[in-house]
């Protein structure tokens, strides 16, 4: 029987040498005349173990990692295709604690299946949700999604079901499903992993959204920086179309839905939903004022569902297993699971899907294993470049939309970036302003001019120029930007700045250079 060897084609694994490893494995298989087949799967999300090579032996997946190309020959010598022992052997992958303790609903297949095998997809529970949805009334699908408690995973946390209901109820001959796959937050990769590792789940989620709202056309708007995701998604759409999942009659339901993949040109702000819609329409990627909401007047002025990849990819399991199943995970108003993306200066970086409610400390210390440098954790930025910095004192905060908001923070897209004690928080505050200045679309004044002045004011503080006056000015500026900006880019930039200033005041009173020289 042919042995299956799994080598990820996920971009993170590729960046760590997975392509060379795959070539070496193929070479060995050929040289040794073995009956083995390489499957290019997605990533399991344990980046410190990538490239992670898995071999299926007696229905179990034995892992080896991290594997380098020049380890391959030795691994085969050690009997890799029979799960032979080696220092790189990790045993059965499912039993690794990092994976075992997760609750993988959205990422159930990611890293396990061949991303472009529809057969594999169905064998692992794929299409059950869509099949069920095809027999349901639109309003019932919307009700299931509403009851599941699913909230927008892009960061805003708006209840997905309510958004869908608005589109369902909005009159319009033409409606759209737009998937926001413009994942630009530093330290985030969940969207990319789904698109590369399990693209059909996103297609299925979008198809369900179309049945729920009467939309007939979908777009995945992703970034040019994700070439692998673009390639896999595009191919998956083609396969799904041939299989009748997309097209004039979705799974024979008589309802039409088709979709295409569109690529942005590198603007962070195009991840903001209205700027994204402008970009999709071929216009400058500037933010639109709301109202009108995209649900009423979105793409080409038509009612539009615009959801993040993870929100849409979580829908199939909800429809398949029911709203209650999903809702039973989580805490408070944050229901279901959240794919944490642990990054930065951390020992065990990667994707960790779990129910809401873990404390930040557990995530950083227990799951992440502390810093990679071994130095003490100074701060954790949660929610991307516009998220607040959390000091150790706040590590008891549970991972939950409301709990983070109560501490002047946000969970955003669930990116978690760890910093050790060498980080200078004034530099980080300046970086936040600089990031905003670089990425601002330029439409609203607080963001366009404010971010530039923020950088300048931070520099004045750093140079010891009237530090007290300039700290007050920076705080005032943050107030203007937070409440005055048109979108979250300018509006959330104050989070990292103010949290840095509040929790690490010592970094904002630098010793003036002239004194340092003496």
């Amino acid at each position: 029987m042919t042995v299956k060897i799994y080598i990820p084609r996920d971009a993170a694994a590729l960046s760590l040498g997975a392509e060379k490893v795959a070539k070496a494995v193929a070479q060995e298989v050929a040289n040794r005349g073995l009956d083995a087949r390489i499957v290019r799967n997605g990533s399991r999300g344990m980046f410190w173990l990538e490239p992670l090579v898995e071999v299926e032996v007696d229905g179990k997946r034995i892992g080896y990692g991290p594997v380098k190309a020049n380890d391959v020959s030795m691994l085969f010598d050690a009997g890799l295709i029979t799960g032979g022992d080696h220092t790189l052997c990790l045993g059965e992958v499912e039993n690794l604690p990092f994976l075992k303790e997760q609750t993988r609903l959205t990422f159930a297949r990611c890293g396990i299946t061949d991303p472009l095998s529809l057969k594999d997809y169905e064998a692992h529970g794929g299409l059950k949700g869509l099949r069920r949805a095809a027999d349901m009334a639109a309003a019932d699908i919307v009700k299931d999604v509403t009851d599941s408690g699913l909230r927008g995973r892009g960061g805003a946390g708006f209840p997905t079901g309510i958004k869908w209901k608005t589109v369902l109820d909005a009159p319009g001959e033409r409606k759209y499903i737009v998937c926001n796959a413009d994942e630009g937050d530093s330290g985030t990769f969940a969207d990319r992993m789904i698109m590369e590792g399990d693209p059909f789940v996103l297609i299925e989620g979008m198809a369900i959204a179309s049945l729920a709202t009467g939309a007939t056309k979908g777009f995945v708007y992703t970034r040019s920086e994700y070439p692998h995701a673009i390639a896999v998604m595009t191919e998956a759409v083609e396969i799904a179309r041939k299989a009748g999942i997309l097209g004039s009659s979705v799974l024979g339901s008589g309802k039409s839905f088709d979709m295409e993949v569109r690529t942005g040109a590198g603007a962070y702000v195009c991840g903001e939903e209205t700027a994204l819609l402008n970009s999709l329409e071929g216009k400058r990627g500037v933010v639109r004022a709301k109202p009108p909401l995209p649900a009423h007047k979105g793409l080409f002025n038509c009612p539009t569902v615009i959801n993040n990849v993870i929100s849409l990819a979580s829908v199939p399991v909800i429809i398949d297993k029911g709203a209650t199943f999903y809702r039973d995970f989580g805490m408070g108003r944050s229901r279901g699971t959240i794919p944490l993306q642990i990054a930065g200066n951390v020992k065990h970086g990667g994707l960790y899907e779990t129910a809401f409610g873990l404390s930040l400390g557990d995530i950083v210390d227990k799951i992440g294993g502390g810093t990679r440098s071994g130095r003490p954790v100074k701060a954790v930025q949660v929610g991307g470049p516009l998220g607040a910095y959390f000091p150790r004192e706040l590590f008891d905060t549970p991972f939950d939309y409301e709990a983070f908001a109560a501490k002047d923070g946000l969970i955003g897209h669930a990116g978690i970036v760890v910093f050790d004690d060498t980080a200078d928080m004034l530099t980080q505050a300046r970086f936040a302003m600089e990031f905003c200045a670089v990425e601002s679309c330029g439409k609203c004044t607080p963001c366009r001019i404010g971010s530039i002045r923020g950088v300048e004011t931070a520099d004045k503080i750093a140079r010891g120029i009237e530090p007290e006056k300039n700290r007050a000015l920076l705080a005032d500026l943050c107030n203007t930007m937070k409440f005055g900006s048109l979108c979250a880019l300018g509006g959330f930039t104050p989070y990292p700045v103010m949290s840095a200033m509040t929790h690490f005041p010592e970094d904002f009173s630098p010793v003036p250079l002239i004194e340092a020289a003496e």
Binding site: S440, G442, P446, K469, L477
Partner: protein, 959 residues
């Protein structure tokens, strides 16, 4: 006197009829659903600070000054983008809002020059106003940070700084003063629809950019002025404001260019015109303008203007300046002599479509009551006389059926033989706005006019017909509508004569009228005709707009009737969004027709032979009127050549340049003994004049113009006539010299006489216009508010009349010697014969007439772009330079007629409309060949023109 104040409500008005009540700062107010909180506040008298909002454009939400707090809602929403909701409680001024607004203003001013005292916008700057409104007292960031203000920062070149763009002749763009509010960009898109402006770069690098970082003059900018009007700072400023200063008073008046009839505020310092700004309450233009009305008024003070009356014995003599009295006495003597010597009918007059209704009324009154004949005609003869005849026959009135607002409710628009983006730009902008909202467009034109494909607008069908085949194409459209059963039977049975319809339907259904048959000579593919017919018949509200490409043909009147047939057959008459709409070429061509300028009609389109009508005037004027129609312009010229017509008074029209077959016109004029030209300039016709009376501009007189939608608009005097007298005074004094007892003290008295004698004007008076702003005739006891839409409950003539429209090809045919068809038109920056616009900076856009020719035809003749070519027809030849373009089809060439040295009308023939004599300008068989330069005729003409413009005692500037 003070500036006309216009409230800026910040966002456009909502059309909803549902009212919503909310509370703003403790005041209850009810506004239509969909109104913004900002507008509702302004209506309640509360001024929320704002910079990026203005009520000409949709809310944009970028400046963040207009934030408010709404009870029960999180955050500080922008009042411009937030619609009102029932029971909403809004606070516009709280501590939190004050902090944010001051914070925003502090940021603005940290990147803005502090040269307020020497700034052109000083006194008219919203940025300055807002800094005051929010109480900005300090800019804590200092002024040494990154900026767009200084050319150098700390000695280093500032790459963000951009120099002032002064390339446009009328306004400047100073990027250093720009606050990037995007009002200009949005005005260019939403109001004008040209999309010439954009924001380039992003973030702090965002800058307003014309085209792709081009200068304004090199960009697609059409200089309509909407951006300048929208700019809240000195970034976009009229050069006249920079050189003169801010105006201190303004007067609302009406543009003297095309038939759209835009209302403007003439903004003045004393008697000096500072600028013309479109008036938002103007019901024709709704606050928009084009380059001509907005900026091209410099001709009024141009050095070429003649300010003293002049006389000469022979046209080969130099002019001699005389006093007004001398001039009037001379004319009176001469005209009396001519009538004594050659008979009562040997003299006549031509009224002007550029003068006021009152002035036109006086000229026809002078002819009828003073000369005692009906030899009066007007330039509408050469443009829209078929409209008057055709629509009169079909509907019973000689005018368009709609107001311009109507287009906002159209679903399908047919544009035929008109080029609105050039000829009627403000209407074109309103049309394009509707098309961008989703209405469909059908263009029937030999040439690919801009509307066929322009940013965010594309015609569903362009029917590129062979010039001269309008009737065949329209009948083919009717054929499809009838044979495919697309007509509106209910409408026809109720509103039209059914048996006439049946007769017409049988006629159009004949196989030779099918698109497949007509394709053979119209050149329009049958499927396009079928598609267009189905769309117009079944696409919702269908409106037809047409221009001189319809009327200036040997079958002009037939085409107008064919248009009326289509509208009636599909039920597209009598409500908003539909109708038949002639786009009038000149400011008062509608009015001049209304005022009895035609030889067979008294004011109000009543035939001269009608005893009752004549009786009204005879009683009032105390004279006996001739009941026989007089001579039309071409007949006057023929009679002159024959020696029976000897004297003419021409007010404000240049027939030598504008009328067909220039050589015939010249011969006619040369045969007369007393030609009196009353004009601003020594125009081409004046080369043949014996008396020149200096005219006054629209800025120098009171009166009214009637635009293409029958709207009677006030023209108001803002400065004294530089020549001494307004045109109505000149005509009156001439009449007095001839012994007529006229004594009008003010044009309002003339209007009172018009109202007293003309039923469709019965309620019109200057007081009433003052109250109403403007009214559309008919305005009488039945319709005291005027008539925006006509034929609402029934046609004026009773039942709508279907008329058979047999296609008869023009006698002007192509052949081996003249294988190409010439058609003519106009261009945006120039107006008509160019007498006004050529004397403004508009010449930077169009310094000469060019001949558009298809690359195929050019290649065959060895003609390259820009080459001098000879354009010859059976009538004559001229030379001009070629412009190679595929806008015209092979076999068709096109030119404009704005420049006298081109003399396109040397080429045109004397064929004319069978019913009205409207000349066939739009079809001339021609040949094009390479040339070395001006033709002998042009050289001779130029010499003669130079000779005939000599004024005794004054050296010619060139000499």
């Amino acid at each position: 006197m003070s500036l006309v104040s216009e409230i800026d409500y910040g966002t456009p008005a909502s059309r909803s009829e549902t009212m919503v009540t909310l509370t703003i700062d403790g005041q209850q107010i009810s506004v239509p659903e969909g109104t913004s909180v900002m507008r509702a506040s302004r209506e309640a008298g509360i001024m929320v600070p704002k910079l990026c909002a203005t009520d000409m454009i949709d809310a944009f939400g970028s400046c963040r000054l207009c934030l408010v707090e709404i009870e029960g809602r999180a955050g500080t929403p922008a009042s411009c983008t937030t619609p009102v909701a029932p029971g909403m409680v809004v606070h516009t001024q709280t501590g939190r809002l004050k902090d944010i607004r001051r914070g925003v203003m502090e940021l603005y001013i940290s990147d803005h020059p502090l040269d307020c005292l020497t700034c052109a916008a000083n006194g008219d700057c919203e940025l300055q106003d807002m800094a005051g409104a929010v109480g900005l007292r300090d800019v804590r960031y200092g002024y040494d940070g990154d900026n767009h203000v200084a050319a150098r920062n700390n000695g280093e070149i500032n790459l963000k700084w951009m120099p002032k763009d002064e390339s446009n002749p009328y306004f400047t763009y100073d990027p250093s003063k720009c606050i990037v509010c995007s009002r200009c960009v949005n005005a260019c898109e939403e109001v004008q629809g040209t999309f010439a402006l954009t924001i380039e770069g992003r973030g702090f690098g965002s800058r307003v950019s014309a085209g792709m970082h081009e200068s304004f003059i090199d960009s697609e900018c059409v200089s309509c002025g909407a951006c300048v009007q929208a700019c809240p700072t000195a970034t976009l400023t009229e050069k006249s404001v920079i050189s003169i200063g801010q105006p201190e008073h303004s007067v609302v008046t009406t543009c003297a260019y095309c038939g759209v009839g835009c209302s403007f505020k003439a903004e003045m310092r004393g008697e000096e015109l500072v600028r013309m700004v479109p008036w938002k309450d103007g019901q024709a233009n709704r606050g928009h303008s084009c380059v001509k009305g907005r900026f091209a008024y410099g001709y009024s003070t141009h050095k070429d203007r003649i300010l003293n009356p002049m006389i000469r014995e022979k046209i080969s003599d130099p002019w001699r300046e005389v006093t007004w009295d001398e001039a009037f006495a001379h004319i009176a003597t001469e005209f009396k002599r001519l009538q004594y010597q050659y008979g009562r009918d040997s003299v006549g007059g031509i009224t002007s479509s550029r003068c006021t209704n009152e002035e036109t009324f006086l000229v026809q009154k002078l002819v009828r009551a003073g000369f005692g004949n009906n030899n009066v005609d007007t330039c509408a003869r050469v443009c829209h006389s078929p409209t008057g005849y055709g629509l009169g026959q079909a509907f019973g009135t000689s005018a368009g059926t709609q107001n311009f607002d109507s287009v906002e409710q159209s679903d399908v628009v047919i544009v035929i033989g008109a080029n609105p983006t050039d000829g009627h730009p403000v209407f074109a902008s309103r049309l394009k706005k509707r098309l961008r909202q989703g209405a469909k467009l059908i263009v029937i034109d030999p040439r690919r006019i801009d509307l066929v494909r322009t940013p965010h607008v594309e015609a569903s069908f362009h029917l590129p017909l062979q010039p001269g085949t309008n009737v065949a194409v329209l009948t083919a459209l009717a054929h499809v509508i009838v044979t495919e059963g697309l007509f509106d039977e209910k409408f026809i049975r109720e509103r039209c004569d059914w048996s006439e319809f049946e007769d017409w339907a049988a006629f159009v259904a004949e196989p030779q009228h099918s698109p497949e048959e007509t394709e053979k000579f119209t050149g329009v593919p049958a499927d396009l005709v079928r598609g267009a017919a189905r769309l117009y018949a079944k696409g919702g509200n269908g409106a037809i707009y047409y221009g001189l490409g319809v009327t200036e043909h040997s079958q002009g009147s037939t085409t107008v009737m064919a248009i009326a047939n289509l509208a009636m057959a599909t039920g597209n008459i009598g409500r908003p969004g539909v109708g038949v709409n002639p786009l009038r070429g000149q400011n008062n061509v509608q009015g001049s027709c209304d005022m009895g300028s035609f030889p067979h009609e008294l004011p109000g389109y009543r035939h001269i032979s009608d005893d009752a009508t004549r009786d009204i005037f005879e009683k009032l004027w105390g004279v006996k009127l001739d009941k026989e129609p007089g001579l039309r312009i071409p007949n006057m010229l023929d009679a002159a050549v024959d020696g029976t017509f000897k004297g003419i008074y021409i007010q404000g029209e240049d027939i030598l340049q504008s009328d067909p077959d220039t050589k015939h016109v010249a011969a006619g004029l040369a045969a007369m003994e007393c030609v009196v030209v009353h004009d601003l300039f020594l125009n081409e016709t004046a080369n043949y004049a014996h008396v020149f009376l200096p005219g006054s501009t629209f800025l120098e007189k009171d009166g009214t113009f009637t635009n293409a939608e029958r709207r009677i608009n006030r023209v108001r005097k803002v400065m004294s006539p530089r020549n001494g007298y307004a045109d109505w005074e000149v005509t009156q004094k001439m009449a007095q010299a001839m012994g007529l007892a006229w004594n009008y003290q003010h044009p309002s008295e003339i209007m009172d006489e018009i109202a007293a004698t003309t039923p469709s004007f019965a309620l019109v008076s200057y007081d009433y216009l003052e109250k109403m702003g403007s009214v559309q005739w008919p305005c009488n006891e039945k319709t005291p508010l005027g008539s925006p839409i006509m034929h609402v409950d029934g046609f004026v003539r009773g039942k709508g009349k279907f008329i058979r429209t047999e296609y008869v090809a023009t006698d002007e045919r192509t052949g081996p010697r003249f294988p190409l068809l010439l058609t003519t038109g106009r261009i945006l920056s120039q107006y008509n014969v160019g007498a006004q616009t050529r004397r403004t900076e508009n010449v930077v856009w169009h310094a000469e007439d060019r001949l558009e020719i298809h690359p195929h035809d050019a290649e065959q003749r060895g003609i390259r772009d820009g080459d001098w070519i000879k354009l010859a027809s059976r009538s004559g030849d001229t030379t001009l330079r070629a412009l190679i373009t595929d806008r015209v089809a092979p076999g068709v060439v096109y030119t404009t007629f704005h420049h006298p040295d081109t003399q396109a009308n040397v080429i045109t023939t004397d064929y004319s409309d069978w019913a009205t004599n409207c000349p066939e300008y739009k079809v001339t068989a021609v040949q094009v060949s390479p040339s070395n330069g001006p033709s002998q005729w042009q050289i001779d003409y130029d010499e003669q023109a130079r000779q005939s413009r000599r004024i005794a005692g004054k050296l010619e500037a060139a000499e």
